[in-house]
Symmetry: C2
Subunit: 347 residues, 2 copies
């Protein structure tokens, strides 16, 4: 028998709130954990001080298990020619929005998991640590395990699931093609290898002994029931939480999620350099969803950020990453605790 | 309450065997119908005489309901320049395989539904008629309805489902991105609008009153249970039947389906001119899955067929359309009747 996710994490409901960098912090995680699910803190865009403050907030407001999530991409080598080509591509937009291109910053706006973070985490001993884009070095994982942290990562293909199982993770997230935000893909950058949840989940369940968490397209209690029928030990849900008051989703992003525009998402690399699913907007339409010019992750983001800021200041989401999965039908403007309980109604 | 698919079609099990032109004929349809599911005869590649013979075979061998499936694409205008460019693209392969390019035929190898077919069908009065790529003209549908035929078509987006419901179909197939063979898409040719089953199915179920049949990635009894949990009235399954003895799947295709190569499928237009999912092989890898040069459907096929024939004669599937969905894990070398009963075990 596949061990129960509830037993593994010590949670009451088999619902993991997906970590969503940029649209939520500790309040959403706390609400979900206190409701009996597993709340998640996205850490990729937090510096050490902000991370400590968020962890302290969680510690102060819940005694329940929670998850902290990190990216563990390789550090890219800056490529001045590619950066220049990217800025040349964006130059007409800088001009339209009155941005002085000469002062646009460069460099990474998302950090990879690093040894010094382990010491910081050790102060708080988070019960679950999840990773995106593979896993960090084995010695770092060993240090996390010293306080009993469970290790989780995402697989977007069967090969990635087998790779994670061979490295001893405690649970594998089967991230189907429907999922919003960054694809966790790490063994291949070929998007044709990305698989829908209905196909990915049962094939991973069949191939591994590790508990499997379903992600991608799950938006309501029926979706949770369907994922469990396919052999999942639990589910990870992101998009449905984006309208909750505890999320920091912008008003523009909220309005788009609630509109017909949310029917059309695409996997795009224009916001960060890695494929991620968001609602199609002007910059995706005009540059193409997958740009051959965008610098390597996470370097593409820096040049896009001032465009986003300038456009948003004018009430436009033309340059905003409007992260969403392919099933926004579960988005509700209700408290995250209530949504968590509703999601678990058939579990 | 959503009306039951079983009541609608008069079948015992909510399992529709997907029509799969080129890899099956009446024997598979008969076996599935006799087992209590809905067997399907793919008619797109049958001339009138062959169609009549197949319908006669079905009538002789089952008294149960069955489905006949037609394509209803617009007839393309031949484009000599595009045809020439396509042949130039394929020229190195003709040379490698010793094919005299000057005798390669052109023209359509798949026929669209046409008025004269209605008279032929009227002799047999098939209880269910399904379409791919939209619907034929309303007057043709009206004639099919005279003998009580139920009309079914596929939706790959929410918009297509609403379009079909407005035209009064009796059931809508929600064809998720995972599905093998041709995408039924007909309102947009933008592949980023294609949605995984986990996201597509519940959104269509929520938006229409018509019964919804789930397709794409469903491979076993758990998959059927999951689709029903998401609100489907039944399922349509293709890939899982490809290894059944009643299918005419080639030995090369069977061997590939049973190998690790089946883990990697792609949506490609190189075999027909329209996007269709098959296992990635040499011609997909070398031309790219979506070719900008391929002539409009179904004209791309003619120039590819001699390559397939020559390669297959040498034991190679380098140029064969190896249709498969993203979940080949349900393929079993067992009788179609037994597979049908196994698929319905949790329904």
């Amino acid at each position: 028998m596949r061990s129960s996710l509830r037993a593994l994490f010590g949670i009451e409901l088999p619902i993991i709130q997906a970590p969503m960098a940029g649209v939520q912090g500790s309040p959403l995680a706390i609400a979900v954990s206190n409701a009996g699910g597993l709340g998640s803190l996205p850490c990729a865009m937090l510096g050490p001080d902000a991370l400590r403050a968020e962890l302290a907030a969680i510690k102060a407001q819940t005694t329940k298990p929670y998850n902290v999530n990190f990216f563990c991409h390789p550090t890219p080598t800056p490529d001045p020619a590619r950066e220049a080509a990217w800025r040349a591509t964006l130059a007409p937009y800088y001009q339209q929005l009155g941005i002085d291109a000469s002062v646009v910053a460069s460099g990474p706006v998302r950090a990879a998991f690093a040894p010094e973070l382990v010491e910081l985490l050790a102060e708080f001993k988070p019960p679950v640590v999840s990773f995106h884009f593979g896993l960090p070095a084995p010695e770092l994982l060993a240090r996390l395990r010293r306080w009993g942290a469970k290790i989780v990562s995402s697989a977007t293909t069967l090969d990635e699931a087998l790779w994670l199982e061979a490295r001893g993770v405690d649970a594998i997230i089967a991230q189907g093609l429907e999922a919003g935000g960054h694809r966790g893909m790490f063994l291949s950058d070929d998007l044709t290898r990305q698989v829908g949840t209905f196909a990915l989940l049962p094939q991973i369940v069949r191939a591994v002994k590790t508990p499997v968490i379903a992600a991608g397209g799950i938006a309501d209690a029926n979706g949770v029931a369907a994922a469990l029928a396919l052999g999942a030990a639990g589910v990870q849900i992101g998009t449905a939480y984006l309208l909750c008051p505890e999320a920091t989703t912008s008003a523009l992003h909220r309005a788009t999620l609630a509109s017909d525009a949310a029917r059309h998402t695409a996997i795009t690399n224009v916001f960060s350099g890695r494929p991620a699913r968001g609602i199609v907007n002007r910059v995706i339409r005009e540059l193409g969803a997958m740009s051959a010019v965008a610098p390597a992750f996470p370097l593409a983001a820096a040049a896009m950020m001032p465009l986003r800021a300038a456009a948003e200041a004018r009430g436009s989401s033309d340059f905003s990453p409007l992260w969403s999965g392919q099933n926004p039908s579960g988005c509700k403007e209700i408290a995250a605790a209530q949504l968590t309980r509703e999601l678990a109604a058939r579990a």
